[in-house]
């Protein structure tokens, strides 16, 4: 069961079952939808951005535990970050879960990701990377303001 715990860690299960900041954000001034048509993960991410800083974040939608947990944690960690910091975090998170780094770099990559490091298990499950990154792609799209629905396939 140890591999199980790696991917479906208590934190991920917790956020998956009881996502934080779940619901529409009335004060949002940026939003974007994300859709993974292959497995049906669907979410809308809401951001309130003020003077280049994300002051509030929330999301709605339905999907697998990984995508829900990722969105939930995203809304927690980006609050208070500048747009540039959030984008940098997206980049790091994406590289981390897509496992493009060497195995030895795992702990370096994990450091600086804080609690997002719990998604390290996704590296062993390439088919689930799209689930983990859906909310982040939506955030990227929301910040770019192009309003397009992102699709991860």
């Amino acid at each position: 069961m140890s591999e199980l715990r790696e991917l479906y860690q208590a934190t991920i299960l917790d956020h998956g079952k009881a996502p934080r900041n779940f619901g529409e954000l009335a004060s949002a001034n940026r939003s974007a939808a994300g859709h993974n048509p292959l497995c049906g993960d669907r979410l809308t991410l809401y951001l309130e951005v003020e003077d280049g800083r994300i002051v509030n974040a929330a999301f709605e939608g339905s999907g697998c535990a990984i995508s829900t947990a990722s969105a939930s944690m995203l809304t927690e960690v980006v609050k208070g970050k500048t747009v540039a910091e959030a984008e940098a975090l997206f980049d790091r998170f994406h590289r981390f879960v897509a496992g493009r780094g060497e195995a030895e770099l795992f702990s370096d990559e994990a450091a600086g990701l804080g609690k997002l490091a719990v998604f390290g298990g996704v590296r062993e499950f390439p088919m689930r990377v799209k689930c983990a990154t859906l909310a982040w792609h939506a955030m990227h799209s929301a910040l770019a303001g192009d309003g397009a629905t992102v699709k991860t396939e």
């Binding site: 479906y8 049906g40 697998c64």
Partner: protein, 410 residues
């Protein structure tokens, strides 16, 4: 011939080398046969032997290897024709698989019978490969799609199918067995209804041929498509059965070498059926492997295979029905070995990943049947699909794996 029992199956399993392995520390439990089947040693060796001893290009070579290769290829065609009850081997066209076979019919047969306002009748349970080629054909010809619905058990509403047949229906295309639901359609009846309305009939047999005896002559359909990789043969090979008068009347669909008699810049003469539809060097090794798969299945007997799979399906249904929070999707009276289900509160992808960690291979998603998913109001299901080498113990393992899923998500 006696029924297949557990000791027969244990013996048959040993012929499939891939089944003997561990995944994530557990014995592999392969329940994704609707996606693709595993291959017996005889098929693997037939392909290897072809490349080790016989390989050459087929049909026109005068040397020994060319003759052996051609014999292997055409021999496989004859075996397949007998296996599916085709009256003549020339009515069996080798293709890459079911998808290509259906596209062949849509491209080379469709335009000759369809004009603006004409209709193609499908069912709601079709695989995308038996939907999209017809959509493309409609765009080309101005014809339109008509769909016969399924009920909440996943059964085709045959009365609705009959009602939707009209004088404008020129093609009726439907599946023999649903890959998403396991429903077995009353194909003889559907063919008869469609023929009565003057429509040509196209049957998607991909999920039927590996699991039951099929006789295309008895069915009376115009076209029947199948995939080698689903019936314990290699990937990249399949076939289209087409009644001779249909195939003879059709123009070629891909042009090139092998499908011609003579070529000049003023014009070319085409080869006779079936070669007319087999342009270029084909998947010779694949056909040889498919021939070996047919031999393998005939040695066991399709009736025995169907009976064993029936026992497995019943056992699997019982096991799954006892799992709390689990709902079976596809509960038709006549079913093949497909168990599609939902687990309340747990997304299919999570179910599938956790089962994988237990060594169990199932498929999650829309199974290339999004309209079926839409009918049941879900984005995805988890699907366990059987072959004759599965065992009741494997289905018990599936049940245990699902209990682990529930524990984790409690």
């Amino acid at each position: 011939m006696s029924r297949l029992g557990p000791s027969d199956v244990a013996r048959l399993r040993k012929e499939f080398p891939i089944l003997d392995q561990e995944v994530n520390g557990h014995p592999l439990v392969y329940l994704d046969n609707a996606a693709t089947s595993q291959k017996p040693r005889a098929v693997i060796e037939a392909v290897s032997h072809h490349y080790e001893r016989d390989n050459a290009n087929i049909h026109r070579g005068v040397h020994a290897l060319a003759q052996r290769s051609t014999a292997g290829y055409e021999g496989a065609r004859e075996k397949l024709a007998r296996f599916i009850g085709a009256p003549d081997a020339r009515e069996v066209v080798f293709t890459r698989g079911t998808t290509e076979a259906l596209n062949l019919v849509a491209c080379a047969f469709g335009p000759s019978v369809l004009g603006t306002g004409d209709e193609i009748l499908l069912t709601e349970m079709e695989h995308h490969s038996n939907i999209v080629p017809w959509q493309l054909l409609c765009e080309r010809t101005g014809a339109k799609l008509v769909v016969a619905p399924i009920d909440d058990r996943g059964q085709l509403d045959v009365a609705a199918f009959r009602e939707r047949l009209s004088p404008r229906t020129k093609i009726a295309a439907f599946t023999h067995v649903s890959n998403a639901l396991g429903t077995v359609n009353p194909v003889e009846e559907l063919v008869a209804l469609a023929r009565g309305a003057g429509a040509a009939t196209v049957v998607d047999g991909a999920q039927a041929v590996p699991h039951m005896a099929v006789d295309v002559s008895a069915l009376g359909c115009d076209f029947y498509a199948l995939s080698g990789h689903k019936m314990f043969g290699p990937t990249g090979i399949g076939a289209l059965f087409g009644r001779a008068e249909r195939l003879d009347a059709m123009p070629p669909w891909q042009g090139g070498g092998e499908m011609i008699l003579t070529v000049t810049f003023d014009g070319s003469e085409y080869a006779d059926v079936p070669h007319k539809f087999e342009a270029g060097t084909p998947n010779v090794a694949g056909a040889v492997g498919l021939g070996a798969a047919v031999d393998h299945l005939e040695a066991i007997g399709m009736e025995r295979i169907a009976a064993w799979e029936r026992e497995l399906l019943d056992h699997g249904t019982e096991v799954l029905s006892a799992v709390p929070q689990l709902r079976l999707v596809g509960t038709a009276e006549r079913k093949a070995g497909v168990l599609s289900f939902l687990v309340d509160g747990v997304h299919s992808h999570d179910v599938g990943t956790i089962l994988d960690l237990e060594g169990i291979a199932v498929r999650t998603g829309h199974h290339c049947a999004q309209p079926v998913m839409d009918h049941f109001g879900v984005a995805a299901t988890t699907r366990a699909s059987l072959a004759f080498y599965n065992t009741k113990e494997e289905l018990d393992a599936l049940g245990a794996g699902l209990r682990k899923v529930l524990e984790l998500f409690a």
